[in-house]
Point group: C2
Chain length 124, copies 2
């Protein structure tokens, strides 16, 4: 978890939600957990570009922000499951809207993003 030195100025909803959703993989984590992919290894497979460490960091932040809960099963090998809280669930439609717009405009988005990359060569 990162230690924050500065204190943000939170004026509007756009700001507040940013605090909680800022983090490269958070929206996708919430999304996949909502889809029923709850175990760390599963999430890791769904988001292979993220390192295990960062996934854990962001999951812990989501937990602290009360968007997900973490349940540990005392078995060997260890088993952990993340679930959305009610609060987290209420965010899913918003994330859905964002993702839909992104999917619907993926063509266009790839174009404009490609234009701004200095060493162009998009990964896929």
């Amino acid at each position: 978890m990162y230690e924050r030195k500065t204190t943000p100025n939170l004026n509007c909803g756009l700001d507040l939600i940013g605090e909680v959703l800022y983090g490269k993989w958070k929206m996708r984590l919430l999304w996949f957990i909502g889809q029923g992919h709850k175990r760390p290894s599963e999430l890791q497979r769904k988001i292979p570009d993220a390192s295990r460490r960062v996934l854990n960091v962001q999951l812990k932040e989501l937990e602290q922000h009360e968007l997900v809960t973490r349940k540990i099963y005392p078995v060997v090998p260890p088993k952990v499951e993340y679930s959305l809280t009610e609060f987290g669930k209420s965010l899913i439609p918003v994330i859905g809207a964002i993702g839909e717009w992104g999917d619907a405009n993926s063509e266009r988005l790839r174009e404009v993003i490609a234009k701004t990359l200095t060493h162009s060569d998009i990964g896929n």
Copy 2:
């Protein structure tokens, strides 16, 4: 404008939109421009926490991503106006949904955010 060294992996809409919306003030810039606050000084007043430089940087990125256009009036003193493109306009409902959720849950959000601040003391 920042020079990017790494090349992102863009798999899904959530990823793609992130590329274009990542930036501390971009959503609010789009929002305010959509509301008709088009001039730099106006936007600066709306978002006083951002420095002029960063506002310009992010506006230029939004322009390159074809979400806004920039129009210069050849008068003295100089006058500039930003407007949403059709592409940019199509994003507004999404930003609206995000902002609404944030506003609707601002109480709760402030709480959970406060808990995670190490040197607590929220600005407002």
